[in-house]
């Protein structure tokens, strides 16, 4: 705009049409070449090596047995996480309780279930009837029940610590303000403290969910046909080991991707009020 540059010398006015060139980094360019080359090599192998047997992968990706495995894995993950969260919140509150009895009980639970391998816990629940022969236990503990029980109780121990960390992170003034208004203890926890703690609780819990998704594959030791076990059953018959492991991996990746999207929205929900921009939208 000529009117604005009227007072400037010609040298300064020339500055208006100077071109900015970003600093070039030769290392970055070289790195790019290397990465692209490696990626091309990988794609080349994936496409040209017939032993990947992509046709087999495609055929089994939607096979009924695999699909049922996916559903079972999803079901186990969802139920174990829901149970784990509920039990974890209860344990966390118990650990923070002023009652020595409650806090010691919760401590002992967490100590035991975090301190022993999940695999042992699963096999233990499966074999519970060995401890109580002739009672109804054998009929009650099916492989599925043992799997769900083992995963849930183990997960609760980890989630209890995650929830406890979140609850401790909420300013004491929040509880005091709610107490001063005459709000009861349970209400303060569920309506005031926990919603604020969720911001801290959600990311590690999402992590746990992803870990749980893959930990469910441990239940194959109990003969429960989850995603991995379903794939194993097929390749033990057809010897197409690699293609079927690819099928299982692809499914795990699909599910974790969907979970990641879900996490984004859950975090956004619990972040309301702490992100100034989000607050303005609401106003």
């Amino acid at each position: 705009m000529p009117s604005q540059v009227a007072g400037l010398s010609t040298a300064e006015a020339d500055g208006d049409d100077l071109v900015v060139v970003a600093r070039r980094s030769p290392l970055r360019a070289m790195g790019m070449v290397v990465v692209v080359a490696l990626a091309a090599l990988l794609v080349y192998t994936l496409v040209t090596n017939p032993r990947f047997e992509w046709a087999v992968v495609a055929r089994y990706f939607t096979a009924e047995a695999v699909f049922e495995g996916v559903l079972l894995t999803l079901q186990l993950t969802a139920l174990a996480m829901i149970g784990g969260i509920v039990l974890g919140v209860i344990l966390a509150v118990m650990r923070l309780s002023k009652s020595v009895l409650l806090s010691r009980c919760a401590w002992t639970y967490i100590w035991f279930f975090r301190g022993t391998p999940l695999m042992i816990q699963l096999i233990f629940w499966f074999n519970l009837s060995a401890l109580f022969p002739g009672t109804g236990v054998n009929a009650l503990i099916t492989p599925y029940v043992a799997a769900l029980l083992g995963l849930t109780l183990n997960e609760a121990a980890y989630l209890a610590e995650i929830v406890r960390g979140g609850l401790l992170g909420v300013d004491r003034g929040q509880t005091e303000a709610a107490q001063a208004l005459g709000i009861g203890r349970g209400r303060i926890l569920l309506g005031v403290v926990l919603p604020q703690a969720m911001r801290v609780i959600v990311p590690p819990t999402a992590n746990q969910t992803v870990a749980m998704l893959k930990n469910t594959s441990l239940v194959s030791v109990l003969g429960v046909a989850d995603l991995l076990h379903s794939a194993q059953i097929i390749y033990s018959r057809t010897f197409q080991t690699i293609p079927l492991l690819i099928v299982a991996s692809l499914w795990y990746l699909v599910i974790t991707t969907v979970l990641g999207v879900g996490q984004h929205y859950v975090e956004k929900y619990y972040g309301r009020g702490s992100d100034p921009l989000a607050g303005q939208e609401a106003a």
Binding site: G182, G273, G279
Partner: protein, 255 residues
């Protein structure tokens, strides 16, 4: 007017670990009275305030609000601690405003003011919202009803906090250094709100460093030091012509 004081404290003692913070405090606050607690930090004034709604348990002595013993039931020579629910019922009638506002950050301004009405008083949401909006208008924040606390200035947050306390229709308001966390230019708007509240006849106990506010609004001023009340009286007497050397020394420092 009821002659019985709104707040009566007698022989209140409180220790944290080995430190005795209150060493036998007596206090009478009449209905409609504005009482300012002054004193150096660590003198026990905030602790005394927090004993009035049982946020701190007293070690000895008793406190009555509106004739009702706070936190305990007396039978003969023993005091039985009340249940959480009973203490909650007592607290619901005592409004409290904190130094650091303590608004619930995950709720909008109007939700903050509504929350206790809905949960404690079990008011229907529509009615609670109506009252909350009325109260926000009264503290001059009608247009901020839908804003989250993080988007409000300190002064605005503190005014929402006052509206939140008023929503419970308290008999008594406790203010714990309500302007100490504010930028200097925001102090005035909060003090104005408190001034209006005092003019409406609310009984108030205010822990403050705002000597000007105390002089102008308070009916009585108490000066605490070392866990005891050193001097008390009308603001003109205590603030203008203090008798005790410790009061004099403190006032020289803050004025």
């Amino acid at each position: 007017m009821n002659a019985e004081p709104m707040v009566r404290a007698s022989g209140v003692r409180k220790s944290f670990g080995r430190t005795e913070v209150l060493k036998g405090v007596d206090l009478d606050v009449a209905r409609g009275e504005v009482c300012c607690l002054l004193g150096p930090s660590g003198s026990g004034k905030s602790t005394l305030l927090r004993c009035v709604n049982h946020l701190e348990k007293v070690d000895a002595g008793r406190i009555w609000v509106d004739g009702e013993l706070v936190g305990y039931r007396q039978s003969g020579r023993t005091l039985h601690e009340l249940s959480e629910r009973e203490i909650g019922r007592q607290r619901a009638d005592i409004g409290m405003v904190f130094q650091r506002f303590n608004l619930f950050p995950h709720m909008t301004a109007v939700e903050n003011v509504m929350y206790a009405q809905c949960t404690v008083r079990r008011e229907p949401r529509a009615k609670a919202r109506e009252r909350a909006e009325e109260l926000l208008a009264r503290v001059g924040l009608a247009e901020k009803a839908g804003s989250y606390p993080a988007t409000l200035s300190g002064g605005q947050q503190q005014r929402v906090a006052i509206a939140r306390a008023l929503a419970m229709q308290p008999k008594l308001m406790l203010f714990d250094e309500p302007t100490s966390a504010l930028d200097p230019e925001l102090v005035g708007e909060v003090l104005d709100t408190m001034r209006a509240l005092a003019a409406d006849g609310m009984t108030m106990i205010v822990v403050t460093h705002e000597i000007g506010f105390a002089r102008e609004v308070a009916d009585s001023v108490l000066f605490l030091d070392g866990g005891v009340i050193v001097e008390r009286g009308a603001p003109k007497a205590v603030l203008v012509a203090p008798e005790h050397p410790r009061t004099r020394a403190f006032l020289e420092k803050v004025l």
